[in-house]
């Protein structure tokens, strides 16, 4: 298939999953909350990020490790859109137009970095912040990048990720904000020929966290794995909007997000969109979202959506389930003498553990298990 043919095919897509993007802020109207992409989001709590609030704050970046990759500050004009990202909503467009400089993280071609690159981004006030980060994994390189977010902030940001041909990149995003933080983030991933990208998306803290994660393929044979874990407490809104655009043949995507909700007004949203284009023959996709509702007064919205424009595929599936505790599981555990509270704790622990075991970064699996343990101690112990 020549590049021209692909381009023609791309242009023919009429899916609503592929809205016209624009870097121009004015091309995106201020949302009212009635739009499909905004209907779940509490706009009033976004502190004007979706309107016209000025970006005056900053996050403090602290590098925890220094493996062999480069981090530099570059003019945004030189790098914006390198992943193929074009903002499809007002917040993304505003965040991108508000910054003059971007952070560029480059994994050198064929570098094999055993140690993860860990950066902590700390917010210290509610002043709105705009950020643009580009992560480029060079051809046939292998690396893990961990972005940890913490503190108080009002953040609108775009993270562009380019995984070049044959590279293996794992990005771990941890939203471990203070209770009052607001974040509306976008991540766009461009997966090269035979490249492998894994995203581990952890969300614990914040008042409102809304993250869009979108992926497309630059060539055949690429694979994307997205593992998400979230824990919404009282009053918290956590929203994940995923879109995997199978733009090339023989590509794979595997998406599993698991969440627990607890406390009055805890709200989670998971939108899992997958588009299989006409030219994307022989692809495989699976997406799954599971929510465990631990108390009354919570709401979990889960919307998987698969659009298929070719029947010539290996496999396509999705699953979504939102449930309270499984009575049979609790009965089984309790019939061995384990108290109801302890049985519930075990089940929640197991629910997340199942996913944590797939992370594949040993030093992270340990700290994640510990974080889940801490969330459970903090949340479950109080109410259950």
């Amino acid at each position: 298939m020549t590049a021209e043919v692909v381009e023609q095919a791309l242009e023919k897509v009429e899916s609503h999953l592929h809205p016209e993007g624009s870097f121009d802020v004015d091309a995106h109207e201020v949302p009212t909350g009635r739009e499909e992409i905004w209907r779940f989001t509490p706009l009033k709590r976004l502190r004007g990020l979706h309107q016209d609030v000025e970006f005056t704050g900053a996050l403090k970046a602290t590098r925890q490790t220094e493996p062999g990759l480069t981090v530099e500050t570059v003019p945004t004009a030189d790098v914006r859109g390198v992943s193929g990202f074009v903002p499809t909503d007002r917040i993304a467009a505003r965040a991108l137009s508000a910054v003059a400089e971007s952070t560029l993280v480059t994994v050198p071609v064929e570098a094999d970095l055993a140690e993860p690159f860990i950066v902590t981004l700390t917010g210290t006030s509610a002043d709105p912040v705009a950020e643009h980060v580009v992560i480029r994994a060079g051809r046939h390189s292998r690396a893990t990048v961990v972005l940890r977010y913490e503190g108080t902030a009002t953040l609108a940001d775009n993270v562009e990720i380019v995984v070049e041909d044959g590279a293996q990149l794992t990005v771990v995003s941890v939203d471990d904000w203070a209770d009052d933080a607001v974040r509306a983030g976008h991540r766009h991933i461009n997966v090269g020929r035979d490249a492998q990208f894994k995203h581990v998306d952890i969300t614990f803290g914040g008042d409102v966290v809304r993250n869009d994660t979108t992926a497309e393929y630059a060539g055949p044979g690429g694979s994307v794995e997205m593992l998400g874990l979230y824990f919404a407490d009282e009053g918290q809104h956590i929203e994940h909007r995923l879109f995997v655009d199978h733009t090339a043949p023989k590509t794979k995507s595997h998406v599993v997000y698991k969440g627990a909700l607890q406390g009055q007004g805890a709200h989670t949203v998971w939108i899992g969109n997958v588009l299989i284009r006409k030219e994307a023959e022989g692809i495989e996709t699976y997406e799954e979202n599971r929510n465990l509702v631990l108390s009354d007064g919570c709401q979990a919205d889960s919307v998987p959506n698969l659009e298929i424009e070719t029947g010539e595929i290996e496999g396509a599936g999705h699953a979504s389930a939102t449930a309270r505790f499984d009575d049979e599981q609790l009965f089984y555990l309790r019939s061995r003498g384990i108290s109801e509270k302890e049985a519930q704790r075990l089940v929640v622990h197991g629910f997340f553990n199942d996913l944590i075991r797939q992370v594949g970064v040993p030093e992270l699996e340990e700290s994640l298990a510990a974080t889940v343990e801490a969330e459970l101690a903090k949340n479950v112990a109080g109410v259950l």
Partner: protein, 252 residues
């Protein structure tokens, strides 16, 4: 020395057509050192008896009582019953993803004993129990029942019986779906348990096959929510030869 008394137990379940009575007054007494077998055709109330004693929420107790050494079991929560000394091996053990057998067993043992088991002997005890059931020690790192074959689930139930060491064990169709080799392994495990001091066993089965390996002192035949007849091991032999027909009332 303990006694488990089931007195005139009546149980119903909710169905789409309203409450349906399943047990219509079951009475039997098991003392430690005894093995009782409950046999009967499908739908006669064998499993309902087991789950009602263990406290499954699906079953409504509408009459009668269950006493363990005089204590009213029916007033206890599910986990209190287990801590009082009851154990139910289930026909379809439940999968608990993400919870390892090791973690599950340690948590259960701690709950039963009121203190964590001694590390020094614990791992050896668990591995020994698994080994006796022909289960690899690596089994303790697998999630509870997840991805186990039918036979592995049953053997894991008996390994739990071994480690948790209750006063009374109720085994609900532990023999169903087992091939002859697995049946022998499971039977050996049950016999090891019965041979311990002051243990009582209620063995629920549809087939007489397992009774060649686990010898009952008393056999009860369940029909239509009641005990139709009780007797010695010879009753099982008769069932083997002639089936349940004699016990099922002719339809009008």
């Amino acid at each position: 020395m303990s006694t488990l008394e089931i007195k005139d137990l009546q149980v119903s379940v909710d169905t789409e057509d309203g409450a349906k009575e399943i047990l219509k007054g079951v009475t039997l007494t098991i003392k430690s050192g005894e093995t009782h077998a409950i046999m009967g055709p499908n739908g006669s109330g064998k499993s309902t008896t087991a789950y009602s004693i263990a406290g499954h929420p699906k079953y409504d107790i509408t009459g009668g009582e269950v006493l363990l050494d005089g204590e009213n079991v029916l007033e206890m929560s599910v986990d209190e019953r287990a801590r009082a000394g009851l154990f139910l091996a289930m026909q379809y053990p439940v999968e608990v993803p993400g919870v390892s057998m090791a973690n599950f067993l340690r948590t259960a043992k701690t709950a039963l004993d009121g203190e964590a088991p001694k590390l020094r002997t614990w791992v050896k005890d668990v591995n020994g129990a698994l080994d006796r059931m022909n289960l690899d020690p690596a089994f303790s790192q697998r999630s509870v029942n997840e991805g186990f074959s039918g036979g592995e689930k049953k053997r894991a139930e008996i390994a739990q019986l071994d480690v948790l060491d209750p006063k009374f064990a109720i085994l609900d169709e532990i023999d169903s779906g087992l091939d002859i080799d697995a049946l022998k392994v499971v039977s050996d495990g049950i016999n090891d348990y019965v041979a311990r001091e002051a243990k009582g066993l209620l063995l629920i089965t549809h087939y007489t096959r397992i009774l060649r390996y686990v010898k009952p002192d008393v056999v009860h035949v369940f029909v239509d929510g009641r005990i139709a007849e009780s007797g010695g091991p010879e009753l099982a032999e008769e069932l083997e030869a002639t089936g349940y027909e004699r016990f099922i009332p002719a339809k009008a």
